[in-house]
């Protein structure tokens, strides 16, 4: 069977990055084709090329055998390609129906919107594919899962034959994920084809027919799902032995250092995000937090580091209450924080390496004397940390913006670890970081533990959690469903817990 869509030798460059390097991909009719690869491998870029948001420098897209130029999303839409973006492309104050018809509005002369016609069509589509959305609701009022179904409807409304789903499951609850599978299957039954991007190999194995693996912007290969395994896929993705083996001596647990009790907090939208989270961390112990993104991990970290006010509960470090203290006071109590999003929180990108290395400590001795900055101290600090943490380039006056992601992360790690913290909160510490840097950071985290510090490690990468943690807390819908011993558990068990499985099992 000839593929409905082929991408041949696609090359796409960004300043300083070869995001796609002669990538090949072909998609058959009625197929769910998984696209996998580590963060930054080039998946989204490839799809954006296909959808006309980016233009490739080299290579060609063929649709039903014909070569095409897709210059903008309109071209793609006209060809029957629909895309559900990793970051939703919905306009919050508009209704579902308005979002769906945007750009393809049904009109009755003079550009007069025919909303009732649209709503009818949407209701029909929604029924046909079991999507269950209310066309009149405003986007800002509906759940993330519903928003995603709106995105899918948007593509269906445009009569998409090929549907690109970029990491659709990252934000979904397990039930919603199951619902999505059902929808995807309905779609392919109706003859549509789907490109499905995910980081979760289980999902790949569950729904896809074939898998294409990208690594560092190159296509490593395409395999039939039936003929492959998780280990093989992981190896293709990473390019070597899968499980990140970390040299780790058994934990030497000391006294309890961190006590968190009954934390309750809301998210940015005022919805409950944490409900009664409790745990203890001993000195010399790493507590991993596993969970599907969006189950309260972000809010937990923010509460513990002073970036978010909790509504109730308690949090203390070595008996000193830090509950709802400011970020500054928490830092002063020797809590270090590697933030989830380094661009948003960890760095001032237009500051130099030297300046970033004192962020949060800039007002303390020796960096400050009264209100004056002590440039000698700043210089010494930078000259010491840059080689110690292998930050490249070795120029303290380079702007953080000009560094690669891994080196940016090293600035944060250097700064936070140099504080000699008592409690280290590390959130997605290796996201978007290359392998070498990952190992480096992992080693440093273990060093902290071995020095008797308490570590809270939050990560979306289960393998990271598994290999570093001493105990693992699993979060689901704002609660810790269980805390298990890392040595006595399996990925399967954690995976089950992450989907709220425990509750199902025990009840």
């Amino acid at each position: 069977m000839a593929p409905i869509l082929e991408m041949r030798d696609i090359t796409k460059k960004f300043p300083g990055v070869l995001a796609n390097d002669h990538v090949n991909l072909d998609l058959n009719k009625g197929e769910i084709h998984a696209l996998v690869g580590e963060n930054g491998a080039g998946k989204s870029t490839l799809m954006n090329v296909l959808f006309g948001i980016y233009q490739q420098e080299e290579g060609q897209v063929f649709y039903k055998g014909d070569p095409l130029n897709i210059d903008n999303p309109n071209d793609a839409i006209d060809l029957g390609i629909g895309m559900v973006h990793q970051h939703f492309m919905l306009v919050p104050p508009l209704t579902v129906a308005e979002n769906i018809i945007l750009g393809e509005e049904p009109t009755t002369g003079f550009g007069n919107l025919n909303l009732s016609k649209a709503i009818k069509k949407i209701e029909n589509l929604s029924q046909e594919y079991g999507l269950n959305v209310d066309p009149r609701a405003k986007i800002e009022d509906i759940s993330v899962g519903m928003q995603q179904r709106v995105e899918i409807l948007k593509a269906l409304y445009r009569e998409a034959e090929v549907l690109i789903l970029d990491e659709p499951t990252a934000v979904l609850t397990p039930q919603e994920v199951k619902g999505l599978y059902k929808i995807m299957n309905t779609l392919v039954d109706q003859g549509k084809s789907i490109i499905f991007i995910t980081h979760k190999l289980d999902e790949v194995l569950t729904v896809s027919k074939r898998v294409t693996v990208l690594r560092d912007g190159k296509s490593i290969g395409t395999v039939k799902t039936a003929d492959t395994s998780k280990t093989e896929l992981a190896e293709m993705m990473v390019g070597r032995e899968v499980v990140l083996q970390v040299d780790k001596t058994p934990a030497e647990r000391e006294e309890v250092k961190v006590e968190v009790d009954n934390l309750t907090a809301d998210n940015d939208r005022g919805m409950p995000a944490l409900s009664g989270v409790s745990f203890k961390i001993h000195g010399g112990e790493i507590l991993g937090v596993a969970g599907v993104e969006g189950n309260g991990q972000t809010e937990l970290v923010e509460v513990l580091t002073g970036l978010r006010k909790a509504k109730a509960g308690s949090f203390s470090l070595e008996g000193q209450s830090l509950f709802n203290e400011s970020a500054r006071e928490i830092k002063e109590a020797k809590v270090a924080h590697i933030p989830e999003d380094r661009h948003k929180h960890g760095l001032v990108l237009d500051y130099t390496i030297e300046d970033n290395l004192i962020l949060g400590y800039h007002y303390q001795a020796p960096f400050a004397e009264g209100i004056n900055l002590n440039f000698n101290a700043l210089d010494k600090h930078a000259q010491r940390l840059i080689p110690e943490y292998d930050i490249r380039p070795r120029n303290k006056n380079a702007l953080a913006r000009s560094l690669s992601g891994g080196n940016q992360q090293k600035i944060i790690v250097a700064r936070e670890f140099d504080l000699d913290p008592e409690f280290l909160v590390a959130s997605q510490p290796t996201r978007g970081v290359d392998i070498g840097a990952i190992e480096f950071i992992h080693k440093r985290i273990i060093e902290q533990r071995d020095a008797g510090k308490a570590v809270l490690l939050v990560s979306a990468e289960l393998s990271e959690i598994m290999s570093l943690s001493d105990r693992i807390a699993v979060m689901y819908e704002g609660e810790i469903v269980d805390i298990v011993d890392a040595n006595k558990t399996t990925e399967e068990e954690i995976g089950l817990l992450m989907t709220g499985g425990k509750a199902e099992q025990t009840s």
Partner: protein, 296 residues
């Protein structure tokens, strides 16, 4: 009781409507611009430019209607500067607006010197005729409010405008040409401000006077915010501010409040509205941000 009789008569209402006219026109212009994502603090300048061009054209052609038309076209072109600078060249929209206001203030007087050899008031020219009790611009303004409401909420163009100002990348992802929409809206805002200026120079009067907009562009901005970027809201706010001015004229010497304080009212109300005391006024999410494709 004297002040009550001073306020409530038909004359006050007419006066309110006349004074609200330039405000609502410019405010609607502001709504289009900001709804599409471009802050426009140059309404004042665009209005002034329109007022001048209308007089100049009426003077040379003898036709006030051509003056109105010319003001619409010219102010649209004037707004195009703002559009190019802030859309194409990603300039800070506030800075561009400040510059345009300066350009209009300086440019109109410069041209007043060149065309009419004076730096105060232009000669009298043919003005717009009365249509019943008002000048055509008053009816036009009311019509434009209604049409704008319809366009923004009941047409595909309006839907696109609203999406562009809230989430340009979403609009882009469904194939909408974000910058084209923005160009159209900014030019439209200039054209509407041009009508507002013409209302002053050829509607209310028959000549141009240096600085004759006297801050009305900024009150229009206030009306736009107070009206929460909605045409009817802007209409209501414009009428309210027009009413303030109408009663302020009538209450002078009647109430023991100094004039100066009554003149501050629209501005104080706007601050209060923004502070959320009268329901929060939140601007379109993407207004002020240049759109760069592929930027995340």
């Amino acid at each position: 009781m004297e002040f009550l009789t001073a306020i409530f008569d038909l004359g006050t209402l007419r006066s309110t409507l006349r004074m609200a006219t330039p405000l609502m026109l410019a405010a609607i212009g502001g709504i289009f611009s900001e709804r599409s994502g471009v802050i426009n603090i140059a309404l004042e300048g665009m209005m002034l430019a329109g007022a001048f061009i209308a007089v100049a054209i009426s003077s040379f052609t003898g036709s006030a209607w051509l003056g109105l038309l010319g003001a619409i076209v010219f102010s649209g072109l004037f707004a195009l500067i703002h559009a190019v600078v802030s859309i194409r060249y990603h300039a800070d929209q506030v800075v561009s607006g400040v510059a345009l206001n300066m350009l209009a203030a300086g440019g109109t007087v410069f041209l007043l010197n060149i065309f009419f050899n004076t730096s105060g008031t232009s000669p009298s020219v043919n003005a717009l005729p009365y249509w019943g009790i008002f000048k055509p611009t008053v009816y036009l303004a009311l019509l434009i409010v209604g049409v704008s409401y319809y366009v923004l909420y009941y047409t595909s163009f309006g839907l696109r405008v609203r999406s562009t100002g809230e989430h340009p990348h979403a609009a882009d992802s469904v194939g909408i040409n974000v910058n084209k929409i923005r160009y159209i809206c900014v030019i439209l805002s200039g054209m509407l401000a041009g009508i507002a200026g013409t209302h002053l120079s050829l509607g209310v009067l028959d000549s141009f006077r240096e600085g004759m907009t006297a801050g009305r562009g900024f009150i229009a901005l206030a009306a736009m915010i107070f009206g929460k970027w909605h045409p009817f809201g802007a209409l209501g706010a414009s009428l309210l501010f027009g009413f303030f001015q109408a009663i302020q004229i009538r209450l002078q010497g009647v109430l023991p409040i100094p004039n100066a304080f009554i003149q501050m009212l629209p501005y104080i109300f706007t601050v209060i509205a923004l502070a959320g005391a009268i329901g929060r006024a939140t601007p379109p999410a993407a207004s002020g941000e240049p759109f760069e494709k592929g930027k995340r």
